[in-house]
Protein backbone atom coordinates (compact mmCIF):
# COMPACT_ATOMS: atom_id res chain seq x y z
CA UNK A 1 0.00 0.00 0.00
CA UNK A 2 1.86 3.07 -1.22
CA UNK A 3 1.30 6.47 0.30
CA UNK A 4 2.78 9.78 -0.77
CA UNK A 5 4.48 11.83 1.94
CA UNK A 6 3.76 15.49 1.15
CA UNK A 7 6.78 16.97 2.99
CA UNK A 8 9.36 14.25 2.35
CA UNK A 9 8.26 14.36 -1.33
CA UNK A 10 8.36 10.64 -1.93
CA UNK A 11 6.06 7.67 -1.69
CA UNK A 12 6.54 4.94 0.90
CA UNK A 13 4.87 1.67 1.75
CA UNK A 14 2.46 2.65 4.54
CA UNK A 15 2.51 -0.87 6.00
CA UNK A 16 6.31 -0.81 6.42
CA UNK A 17 6.16 2.49 8.30
CA UNK A 18 3.31 1.32 10.56
CA UNK A 19 5.20 -1.91 11.32
CA UNK A 20 8.40 0.05 11.96
CA UNK A 21 6.48 2.24 14.41
CA UNK A 22 4.94 -0.88 15.93
CA UNK A 23 8.31 -2.55 16.48
CA UNK A 24 9.77 0.55 18.10
CA UNK A 25 6.57 0.97 20.16
CA UNK A 26 6.85 -2.60 21.36
CA UNK A 27 10.37 -1.92 22.62
CA UNK A 28 9.42 1.41 24.14
CA UNK A 29 6.50 -0.18 26.02
CA UNK A 30 8.74 -3.01 27.19
CA UNK A 31 11.68 -0.91 28.32
CA UNK A 32 10.03 2.39 29.14
CA UNK A 33 12.08 4.39 26.63
CA UNK A 34 10.70 6.63 23.91
CA UNK A 35 12.38 4.69 21.13
CA UNK A 36 13.41 7.76 19.15
CA UNK A 37 16.98 6.44 19.10
CA UNK A 38 15.73 3.59 16.89
CA UNK A 39 13.12 5.41 14.77
CA UNK A 40 15.40 8.06 13.29
CA UNK A 41 18.17 5.70 12.03
CA UNK A 42 15.61 3.18 10.73
CA UNK A 43 13.75 5.87 8.78
CA UNK A 44 17.02 7.08 7.27
CA UNK A 45 17.90 3.52 6.24
CA UNK A 46 14.45 3.28 4.59
CA UNK A 47 15.29 6.33 2.46
CA UNK A 48 13.58 9.22 4.26
CA UNK A 49 15.74 12.40 4.19
CA UNK A 50 17.60 12.68 7.57
CA UNK A 51 16.07 16.06 8.47
CA UNK A 52 12.51 14.85 7.86
CA UNK A 53 13.26 11.67 9.81
CA UNK A 54 14.56 13.51 12.89
CA UNK A 55 11.75 16.08 12.76
CA UNK A 56 8.95 13.52 12.44
CA UNK A 57 10.37 10.99 14.91
CA UNK A 58 10.04 13.56 17.71
CA UNK A 59 6.24 13.52 17.43
CA UNK A 60 6.25 9.72 17.69
CA UNK A 61 8.06 10.02 21.03
CA UNK A 62 5.46 12.55 22.20
CA UNK A 63 2.73 10.03 21.46
CA UNK A 64 4.60 7.22 23.18
CA UNK A 65 5.16 9.25 26.35
CA UNK A 66 1.58 10.59 26.76
CA UNK A 67 -0.06 7.44 28.09
CA UNK A 68 2.97 6.78 30.30
CA UNK A 69 2.72 10.24 31.87
CA UNK A 70 -1.00 9.74 32.63
CA UNK A 71 -0.32 6.37 34.25
CA UNK A 72 2.49 7.79 36.41
CA UNK A 73 0.44 10.86 37.44
CA UNK A 74 -2.30 8.55 38.73
CA UNK A 75 0.36 6.67 40.74
CA UNK A 76 1.80 9.97 42.05
CA UNK A 77 5.03 9.09 40.26
CA UNK A 78 5.71 12.58 38.88
CA UNK A 79 7.58 15.33 40.73
CA UNK A 80 5.98 18.33 39.07
CA UNK A 81 8.40 20.84 40.56
CA UNK A 82 11.43 18.89 39.34
CA UNK A 83 9.65 18.20 36.05
CA UNK A 84 8.88 21.89 35.61
CA UNK A 85 12.54 22.86 36.09
CA UNK A 86 13.67 20.15 33.65
CA UNK A 87 11.09 21.28 31.08
CA UNK A 88 12.19 24.91 31.42
CA UNK A 89 15.78 23.87 30.74
CA UNK A 90 14.62 21.59 27.95
CA UNK A 91 12.65 24.32 26.17
CA UNK A 92 15.63 26.66 26.15
CA UNK A 93 17.83 23.74 25.07
CA UNK A 94 15.57 22.82 22.17
CA UNK A 95 15.57 26.38 20.82
CA UNK A 96 19.37 26.47 21.16
CA UNK A 97 19.52 23.02 19.56
CA UNK A 98 17.52 24.32 16.61
CA UNK A 99 20.17 26.97 16.06
CA UNK A 100 22.98 24.40 16.30
CA UNK A 101 21.07 22.17 13.87
CA UNK A 102 20.88 24.93 11.25
CA UNK A 103 24.55 25.77 11.75
CA UNK A 104 25.62 22.16 11.23
CA UNK A 105 23.26 21.79 8.30
CA UNK A 106 24.84 24.80 6.59
CA UNK A 107 28.34 23.39 7.08
CA UNK A 108 27.26 19.99 5.73
CA UNK A 109 28.39 18.05 8.80
CA UNK A 110 24.98 17.39 10.38
CA UNK A 111 24.87 13.69 9.41
CA UNK A 112 28.38 12.99 10.68
CA UNK A 113 27.75 14.85 13.95
CA UNK A 114 24.46 12.99 14.51
CA UNK A 115 26.20 9.66 13.89
CA UNK A 116 29.14 10.42 16.20
CA UNK A 117 26.87 11.65 19.01
CA UNK A 118 24.81 8.48 18.63
CA UNK A 119 27.85 6.21 18.79
CA UNK A 120 29.30 7.94 21.86
CA UNK A 121 26.02 8.16 23.79
CA UNK A 122 24.58 4.77 22.92
CA UNK A 123 27.93 3.03 23.27
CA UNK A 124 28.68 4.37 26.75
CA UNK A 125 25.13 4.05 28.10
CA UNK A 126 24.68 0.61 26.54
CA UNK A 127 27.84 -0.77 28.12
CA UNK A 128 26.97 0.80 31.51
CA UNK A 129 23.52 -0.78 31.39
CA UNK A 130 24.87 -4.17 30.29
CA UNK A 131 27.41 -4.19 33.13
CA UNK A 132 24.78 -3.23 35.70
CA UNK A 133 22.22 -5.78 34.41
CA UNK A 134 24.77 -8.61 34.32
CA UNK A 135 25.75 -7.82 37.90
CA UNK A 136 22.12 -7.89 38.99
CA UNK A 137 21.51 -11.21 37.23
CA UNK A 138 24.60 -12.77 38.84
CA UNK A 139 23.51 -11.51 42.26
CA UNK A 140 20.04 -12.98 41.76
CA UNK A 141 21.54 -16.35 40.69
CA UNK A 142 23.73 -16.50 43.81
CA UNK A 143 20.70 -15.66 45.92
CA UNK A 144 22.19 -12.44 47.24
CA UNK A 145 19.91 -9.63 48.24
CA UNK A 146 20.54 -6.69 45.89
CA UNK A 147 22.81 -4.27 47.68
CA UNK A 148 20.89 -1.06 48.04
CA UNK A 149 23.01 1.70 46.58
CA UNK A 150 23.28 4.65 48.88
CA UNK A 151 21.30 7.49 47.37
CA UNK A 152 23.23 10.71 47.13
CA UNK A 153 23.84 13.38 44.56
CA UNK A 154 27.08 14.17 42.86
CA UNK A 155 29.41 16.51 44.85
CA UNK A 156 29.34 19.07 42.02
CA UNK A 157 25.55 19.27 42.32
CA UNK A 158 25.86 19.94 46.05
CA UNK A 159 28.19 22.88 45.43
CA UNK A 160 25.65 24.86 43.36
CA UNK A 161 23.92 27.82 45.04
CA UNK A 162 20.20 28.65 45.58
CA UNK A 163 19.16 25.36 47.12
CA UNK A 164 15.51 24.51 47.23
CA UNK A 165 13.45 21.54 48.36
CA UNK A 166 12.02 18.98 45.91
CA UNK A 167 9.68 17.05 48.21
CA UNK A 168 8.66 14.17 45.98
CA UNK A 169 12.20 13.57 44.78
CA UNK A 170 13.41 13.71 48.34
CA UNK A 171 16.05 16.31 47.50
CA UNK A 172 17.36 19.62 48.75
CA UNK A 173 19.50 20.86 45.86
CA UNK A 174 20.01 23.84 43.60
CA UNK A 175 17.50 24.02 40.70
CA UNK A 176 20.43 24.91 38.43
CA UNK A 177 21.48 21.25 38.23
CA UNK A 178 18.20 19.93 36.73
CA UNK A 179 17.98 23.10 34.61
CA UNK A 180 21.33 22.34 32.98
CA UNK A 181 20.43 18.67 32.62
CA UNK A 182 17.17 19.62 30.90
CA UNK A 183 19.06 22.03 28.65
CA UNK A 184 21.48 19.32 27.49
CA UNK A 185 18.72 16.81 26.85
CA UNK A 186 16.74 19.48 24.97
CA UNK A 187 19.64 19.95 22.53
CA UNK A 188 19.86 16.20 21.97
CA UNK A 189 16.11 16.01 21.37
CA UNK A 190 16.38 18.45 18.49
CA UNK A 191 19.58 17.03 17.02
CA UNK A 192 18.74 13.34 17.23
CA UNK A 193 14.94 13.28 17.33
CA UNK A 194 15.13 11.31 20.58
CA UNK A 195 13.22 11.85 23.82
CA UNK A 196 16.40 11.60 25.84
CA UNK A 197 14.95 9.28 28.48
CA UNK A 198 17.92 6.98 28.11
CA UNK A 199 20.21 9.78 29.31
CA UNK A 200 17.82 11.52 31.66
CA UNK A 201 16.96 8.44 33.76
CA UNK A 202 20.57 7.50 34.63
CA UNK A 203 21.43 11.16 35.20
CA UNK A 204 18.50 11.63 37.58
CA UNK A 205 19.47 8.49 39.49
CA UNK A 206 23.22 8.89 39.69
CA UNK A 207 23.87 12.64 39.31
CA UNK A 208 20.87 14.14 41.11
CA UNK A 209 20.18 11.14 43.34
CA UNK A 210 16.38 11.25 43.00
CA UNK A 211 14.04 8.73 44.64
CA UNK A 212 13.57 5.82 42.23
CA UNK A 213 9.77 5.96 42.42
CA UNK A 214 9.50 9.33 40.65
CA UNK A 215 12.40 8.99 38.19
CA UNK A 216 10.60 7.34 35.25
CA UNK A 217 7.41 9.41 35.59
CA UNK A 218 9.31 12.71 35.82
CA UNK A 219 11.53 11.76 32.91
CA UNK A 220 8.47 10.98 30.78
CA UNK A 221 6.91 14.29 31.85
CA UNK A 222 9.99 16.14 30.59
CA UNK A 223 10.08 14.05 27.40
CA UNK A 224 6.43 14.87 26.63
CA UNK A 225 6.93 18.63 26.74
CA UNK A 226 10.37 18.80 25.18
CA UNK A 227 9.50 16.54 22.22
CA UNK A 228 6.35 18.62 21.66
CA UNK A 229 8.57 21.70 21.66
CA UNK A 230 11.02 19.95 19.33
CA UNK A 231 8.18 19.35 16.88
CA UNK A 232 7.29 23.04 17.07
CA UNK A 233 10.92 24.14 16.55
CA UNK A 234 11.25 21.85 13.52
CA UNK A 235 7.87 22.93 12.14
CA UNK A 236 8.86 26.59 12.26
CA UNK A 237 12.55 26.42 11.32
CA UNK A 238 13.41 23.39 9.17
CA UNK A 239 9.76 22.89 8.08
CA UNK A 240 10.53 19.20 7.85
CA UNK A 241 7.75 17.71 10.00
CA UNK A 242 5.82 15.32 7.79
CA UNK A 243 2.45 14.93 9.43
CA UNK A 244 1.51 11.91 7.30
CA UNK A 245 4.73 10.12 8.24
CA UNK A 246 4.20 11.03 11.92
CA UNK A 247 0.62 9.72 11.87
CA UNK A 248 1.72 6.39 10.35
CA UNK A 249 4.49 6.02 12.93
CA UNK A 250 2.13 6.92 15.78
CA UNK A 251 -0.47 4.43 14.63
CA UNK A 252 2.04 1.61 14.93
CA UNK A 253 3.93 2.80 17.97
CA UNK A 254 1.03 3.52 20.35
CA UNK A 255 -0.42 0.07 19.64
CA UNK A 256 3.01 -1.56 20.00
CA UNK A 257 3.68 0.30 23.25
CA UNK A 258 0.56 -1.13 24.91
CA UNK A 259 1.45 -4.68 23.89
CA UNK A 260 5.05 -4.15 25.03
CA UNK A 261 3.96 -2.82 28.43
CA UNK A 262 1.90 -5.97 29.06
CA UNK A 263 4.75 -8.20 28.03
CA UNK A 264 7.17 -6.32 30.29
CA UNK A 265 5.08 -7.12 33.38
CA UNK A 266 5.83 -10.83 32.88
CA UNK A 267 9.62 -10.65 32.50
CA UNK A 268 12.27 -10.08 35.19
CA UNK A 269 13.44 -6.45 35.01
CA UNK A 270 17.18 -7.27 34.97
CA UNK A 271 16.72 -9.45 31.87
CA UNK A 272 14.78 -6.61 30.23
CA UNK A 273 17.60 -4.19 31.02
CA UNK A 274 20.16 -6.60 29.57
CA UNK A 275 18.09 -7.00 26.38
CA UNK A 276 17.79 -3.21 26.02
CA UNK A 277 21.53 -2.85 26.56
CA UNK A 278 22.20 -5.36 23.78
CA UNK A 279 19.87 -3.52 21.38
CA UNK A 280 21.44 -0.17 22.23
CA UNK A 281 24.96 -1.57 21.68
CA UNK A 282 23.93 -3.15 18.36
CA UNK A 283 22.54 0.17 17.10
CA UNK A 284 25.71 1.97 18.22
CA UNK A 285 27.88 -0.66 16.51
CA UNK A 286 25.94 -0.41 13.26
CA UNK A 287 26.24 3.37 13.16
CA UNK A 288 29.96 3.20 14.00
CA UNK A 289 30.52 0.78 11.11
CA UNK A 290 28.55 3.09 8.83
CA UNK A 291 30.97 5.92 9.65
CA UNK A 292 34.04 3.87 8.80
CA UNK A 293 32.80 1.93 5.79
CA UNK A 294 33.12 3.44 2.36
CA UNK A 295 29.59 4.80 1.77
CA UNK A 296 27.54 3.67 -1.24
CA UNK A 297 27.06 7.29 -2.23
CA UNK A 298 30.10 9.53 -2.01
CA UNK A 299 28.05 12.46 -3.22
CA UNK A 300 24.97 14.05 -1.71
CA UNK A 301 22.73 16.78 -3.05
CA UNK A 302 20.82 19.43 -1.19
CA UNK A 303 18.79 22.38 -2.38
CA UNK A 304 20.37 25.74 -1.80
Amino acid sequence: MDIYLPIANLSVNALVIVLLGGGVGLLSGMFGVGGGFLTTPLLIVYGIPPTVAAASAASQVTGASVSGVFAHVRRKGVDFKMGGVLVAGGLVGSVFGGWVFRLLQASGQIDTVIAIVYVVLLGSIGSMMAKEALGAIRAARLGLAPTARKRRHHPLVASLPLRTRFYRSGLYISPLAPLLLGFGVGILTILLGVGGGFILVPAMLYLLGMTTQVVVGTSLFQTLFVTAMATMVHATTTKAVDIVLAALLLLGSVAGAQIGARFAAKVKPEYLRLALAVIVLLVAGRIALGLGWRPDELYSVELS
Partner: protein
Protein backbone atom coordinates in the same frame (compact mmCIF):
# COMPACT_ATOMS: atom_id res chain seq x y z
CA UNK B 1 17.29 42.82 -61.12
CA UNK B 2 13.70 42.83 -59.81
CA UNK B 3 13.42 39.06 -60.06
CA UNK B 4 16.58 38.76 -58.01
CA UNK B 5 15.02 40.83 -55.21
CA UNK B 6 11.95 38.65 -55.16
CA UNK B 7 14.06 35.55 -54.92
CA UNK B 8 15.95 37.03 -51.93
CA UNK B 9 12.71 38.00 -50.17
CA UNK B 10 11.16 34.62 -50.71
CA UNK B 11 14.26 32.67 -49.75
CA UNK B 12 13.47 32.20 -46.03
CA UNK B 13 9.94 31.05 -46.84
CA UNK B 14 11.13 28.60 -49.43
CA UNK B 15 13.79 27.29 -47.10
CA UNK B 16 11.28 26.87 -44.30
CA UNK B 17 9.12 24.95 -46.70
CA UNK B 18 11.88 22.52 -47.45
CA UNK B 19 12.25 21.49 -43.80
CA UNK B 20 10.02 18.97 -42.06
CA UNK B 21 7.81 20.06 -39.13
CA UNK B 22 7.06 18.25 -35.88
CA UNK B 23 3.57 17.97 -34.39
CA UNK B 24 4.09 16.64 -30.86
CA UNK B 25 1.74 15.85 -28.01
CA UNK B 26 1.84 14.28 -24.55
CA UNK B 27 -0.64 11.96 -22.88
CA UNK B 28 -0.96 14.18 -19.81
CA UNK B 29 -0.59 17.97 -19.68
CA UNK B 30 -1.27 18.07 -15.92
CA UNK B 31 -0.03 15.55 -13.42
CA UNK B 32 -1.60 15.76 -10.00
CA UNK B 33 0.18 14.29 -7.01
CA UNK B 34 -2.25 12.61 -4.67
CA UNK B 35 -1.99 10.30 -1.67
CA UNK B 36 -1.36 7.21 -3.78
CA UNK B 37 1.06 8.86 -6.23
CA UNK B 38 3.94 6.53 -7.07
CA UNK B 39 5.02 8.23 -10.28
CA UNK B 40 3.54 8.83 -13.70
CA UNK B 41 3.89 7.16 -17.05
CA UNK B 42 4.04 9.74 -19.82
CA UNK B 43 3.41 8.85 -23.43
CA UNK B 44 5.01 11.32 -25.82
CA UNK B 45 3.88 10.95 -29.38
CA UNK B 46 3.42 12.92 -32.59
CA UNK B 47 3.89 13.14 -36.31
CA UNK B 48 6.63 14.33 -38.65
CA UNK B 49 5.21 16.50 -41.46
CA UNK B 50 7.41 16.57 -44.56
CA UNK B 51 7.07 19.38 -47.09
CA UNK B 52 4.67 18.28 -49.76
CA UNK B 53 3.84 15.17 -47.78
CA UNK B 54 6.69 13.27 -49.43
CA UNK B 55 9.10 11.24 -47.40
CA UNK B 56 12.70 11.91 -48.37
CA UNK B 57 13.75 9.24 -50.82
CA UNK B 58 17.43 8.98 -49.89
CA UNK B 59 18.49 6.24 -47.49
CA UNK B 60 19.68 8.53 -44.65
CA UNK B 61 17.82 7.60 -41.46
CA UNK B 62 15.52 10.03 -39.64
CA UNK B 63 15.80 10.03 -35.84
CA UNK B 64 13.68 11.39 -33.04
CA UNK B 65 14.92 12.44 -29.60
CA UNK B 66 12.53 13.29 -26.78
CA UNK B 67 13.76 15.16 -23.69
CA UNK B 68 11.65 15.70 -20.58
CA UNK B 69 13.12 18.25 -18.17
CA UNK B 70 12.03 19.25 -14.68
CA UNK B 71 12.34 22.76 -13.23
CA UNK B 72 15.95 23.82 -12.63
CA UNK B 73 17.20 24.00 -9.07
CA UNK B 74 20.08 25.66 -7.36
CA UNK B 75 21.83 22.81 -5.59
CA UNK B 76 24.83 22.10 -3.42
CA UNK B 77 26.72 18.86 -4.06
CA UNK B 78 28.93 17.53 -1.29
CA UNK B 79 31.64 14.94 -1.65
CA UNK B 80 32.65 12.55 1.13
CA UNK B 81 36.30 11.83 1.79
CA UNK B 82 37.96 9.64 4.36
CA UNK B 83 39.21 11.74 7.26
CA UNK B 84 42.35 10.54 9.02
CA UNK B 85 41.86 7.03 7.65
CA UNK B 86 38.97 6.65 10.08
CA UNK B 87 35.59 8.07 9.14
CA UNK B 88 33.92 9.38 6.01
CA UNK B 89 32.88 13.02 6.18
CA UNK B 90 31.67 15.63 3.72
CA UNK B 91 34.92 17.25 2.72
CA UNK B 92 34.37 19.40 -0.36
CA UNK B 93 31.41 20.94 -2.10
CA UNK B 94 30.34 22.56 -5.32
CA UNK B 95 27.31 24.72 -6.01
CA UNK B 96 25.29 24.49 -9.20
CA UNK B 97 23.07 27.41 -10.09
CA UNK B 98 20.73 25.62 -12.46
CA UNK B 99 20.75 21.85 -12.53
CA UNK B 100 17.59 20.23 -13.87
CA UNK B 101 15.69 18.47 -11.08
CA UNK B 102 14.63 15.81 -13.58
CA UNK B 103 16.05 14.91 -16.97
CA UNK B 104 14.95 12.02 -19.17
CA UNK B 105 16.14 11.53 -22.71
CA UNK B 106 14.64 8.93 -25.02
CA UNK B 107 15.89 8.43 -28.55
CA UNK B 108 15.42 6.13 -31.51
CA UNK B 109 19.11 5.16 -31.34
CA UNK B 110 22.06 6.12 -29.10
CA UNK B 111 22.53 9.89 -29.36
CA UNK B 112 26.30 9.62 -29.71
CA UNK B 113 25.65 7.84 -33.01
CA UNK B 114 23.46 10.59 -34.48
CA UNK B 115 25.10 13.86 -33.37
CA UNK B 116 28.62 15.07 -32.72
CA UNK B 117 29.66 16.26 -29.26
CA UNK B 118 29.37 19.96 -30.12
CA UNK B 119 25.78 19.71 -31.33
CA UNK B 120 24.90 17.54 -28.33
CA UNK B 121 26.28 20.23 -26.03
CA UNK B 122 24.37 23.02 -27.81
CA UNK B 123 21.02 21.28 -27.43
CA UNK B 124 21.92 19.61 -24.07
CA UNK B 125 21.27 16.14 -25.41
CA UNK B 126 22.46 13.29 -23.22
CA UNK B 127 23.56 13.04 -19.60
CA UNK B 128 27.16 13.82 -20.50
CA UNK B 129 26.16 17.05 -22.27
CA UNK B 130 24.11 18.70 -19.52
CA UNK B 131 24.84 22.38 -18.85
CA UNK B 132 24.94 22.33 -15.06
CA UNK B 133 26.48 25.82 -14.67
CA UNK B 134 28.73 25.24 -11.65
CA UNK B 135 29.28 28.37 -9.53
CA UNK B 136 32.91 27.68 -8.81
CA UNK B 137 36.44 28.46 -9.87
CA UNK B 138 37.67 24.95 -9.05
CA UNK B 139 39.96 23.25 -11.57
CA UNK B 140 38.21 21.59 -14.51
CA UNK B 141 39.29 18.18 -13.28
CA UNK B 142 37.47 18.64 -9.98
CA UNK B 143 34.40 20.10 -11.70
CA UNK B 144 34.22 17.09 -13.99
CA UNK B 145 34.48 14.72 -11.03
CA UNK B 146 31.61 16.50 -9.27
CA UNK B 147 29.48 16.56 -12.42
CA UNK B 148 30.02 12.81 -12.91
CA UNK B 149 29.15 12.16 -9.25
CA UNK B 150 26.00 14.26 -9.46
CA UNK B 151 24.80 12.63 -12.68
CA UNK B 152 25.49 9.11 -11.36
CA UNK B 153 23.68 9.84 -8.10
CA UNK B 154 20.66 11.27 -9.90
CA UNK B 155 20.67 8.35 -12.35
CA UNK B 156 20.60 5.83 -9.50
CA UNK B 157 17.57 7.51 -7.94
CA UNK B 158 15.79 7.52 -11.31
CA UNK B 159 15.84 11.30 -11.67
CA UNK B 160 18.24 11.33 -14.63
CA UNK B 161 17.36 8.78 -17.27
CA UNK B 162 18.93 7.96 -20.62
CA UNK B 163 16.90 5.55 -22.74
CA UNK B 164 18.37 4.92 -26.19
CA UNK B 165 16.05 3.01 -28.52
CA UNK B 166 13.00 4.01 -26.46
CA UNK B 167 11.49 6.02 -29.32
CA UNK B 168 9.55 4.01 -31.84
CA UNK B 169 9.07 5.46 -35.34
CA UNK B 170 6.26 4.05 -37.45
CA UNK B 171 6.52 4.28 -41.23
CA UNK B 172 8.82 7.27 -40.96
CA UNK B 173 6.05 9.68 -39.89
CA UNK B 174 4.63 8.69 -36.50
CA UNK B 175 6.69 8.42 -33.35
CA UNK B 176 6.02 7.45 -29.76
CA UNK B 177 8.05 7.18 -26.55
CA UNK B 178 7.33 6.33 -22.96
CA UNK B 179 8.94 8.23 -20.09
CA UNK B 180 8.43 7.33 -16.45
CA UNK B 181 8.37 10.18 -13.97
CA UNK B 182 9.23 8.91 -10.45
CA UNK B 183 7.43 10.03 -7.28
CA UNK B 184 10.52 11.88 -6.05
CA UNK B 185 10.30 14.73 -8.57
CA UNK B 186 9.68 18.25 -7.33
CA UNK B 187 6.51 20.02 -8.39
CA UNK B 188 6.59 22.65 -11.08
CA UNK B 189 6.60 23.16 -14.83
CA UNK B 190 8.19 20.39 -16.87
CA UNK B 191 9.01 20.66 -20.56
CA UNK B 192 8.91 17.93 -23.16
CA UNK B 193 11.08 18.76 -26.16
CA UNK B 194 11.12 16.74 -29.34
CA UNK B 195 14.05 16.92 -31.79
CA UNK B 196 14.04 15.72 -35.36
CA UNK B 197 17.52 14.68 -36.41
CA UNK B 198 18.78 13.78 -39.85
CA UNK B 199 22.26 13.46 -41.20
CA UNK B 200 23.90 14.76 -38.03
CA UNK B 201 21.79 17.94 -37.91
CA UNK B 202 18.81 19.03 -35.84
CA UNK B 203 16.10 19.84 -38.39
CA UNK B 204 13.14 20.65 -36.16
CA UNK B 205 12.38 21.23 -32.49
CA UNK B 206 8.98 21.37 -30.80
CA UNK B 207 8.12 21.87 -27.14
CA UNK B 208 5.15 20.99 -24.95
CA UNK B 209 4.70 21.86 -21.30
CA UNK B 210 3.58 19.60 -18.48
CA UNK B 211 2.50 20.87 -15.07
CA UNK B 212 3.15 18.68 -12.05
CA UNK B 213 1.51 19.79 -8.83
CA UNK B 214 0.28 18.47 -5.55
CA UNK B 215 -3.48 18.37 -5.29
CA UNK B 216 -6.11 17.97 -2.62
CA UNK B 217 -4.86 16.91 0.79
CA UNK B 218 -1.16 16.77 -0.19
CA UNK B 219 -1.27 20.31 -1.51
CA UNK B 220 -3.08 21.47 1.63
CA UNK B 221 -0.49 19.84 3.91
CA UNK B 222 2.52 21.15 1.99
CA UNK B 223 1.05 24.65 1.87
CA UNK B 224 0.12 24.71 5.56
CA UNK B 225 3.58 23.50 6.58
CA UNK B 226 5.10 26.34 4.60
CA UNK B 227 2.74 29.24 5.27
CA UNK B 228 1.15 28.47 8.64
CA UNK B 229 4.03 26.65 10.29
CA UNK B 230 2.99 27.43 13.88
CA UNK B 231 -0.53 26.09 13.41
CA UNK B 232 0.87 23.11 11.51
CA UNK B 233 3.25 22.31 14.38
CA UNK B 234 0.43 22.62 16.92
CA UNK B 235 -1.72 20.21 14.90
CA UNK B 236 1.18 17.72 14.72
CA UNK B 237 1.65 17.91 18.51
CA UNK B 238 -2.10 17.64 19.16
CA UNK B 239 -2.26 14.62 16.87
CA UNK B 240 0.49 12.78 18.73
CA UNK B 241 -1.01 13.58 22.16
CA UNK B 242 -4.40 12.40 20.94
CA UNK B 243 -2.98 9.16 19.53
CA UNK B 244 -1.04 8.35 22.71
CA UNK B 245 -3.92 9.23 25.02
CA UNK B 246 -6.46 7.34 22.89
CA UNK B 247 -4.33 4.19 22.84
CA UNK B 248 -4.00 4.35 26.63
CA UNK B 249 -7.78 4.69 27.09
CA UNK B 250 -8.52 1.81 24.70
CA UNK B 251 -5.87 -0.42 26.31
CA UNK B 252 -7.33 0.09 29.80
CA UNK B 253 -10.74 -1.16 28.58
CA UNK B 254 -9.39 -4.59 27.67
Amino acid sequence: MRRGWIAVLLAPLLMAQSKPVLVPDVSQRDIEIQYSFTGANLLLFGAILYPGGRLPDDDKPTDIVVVVKGPVQSILVREKQKLGGLIWVNASRLRYRSAPSFYAIASSKPIARMLDARTRAIYELGLSSLQLSPASSAPTQEQDRFARGLVELKARTGLYVEAPQAVEITQGVLYRARVTIPARVPVGRFTAETFLIRDGRVLAVATREIDIRKSGFERFVARSADRHSVAYGLVAVALSVLFGWGAGVIARRF
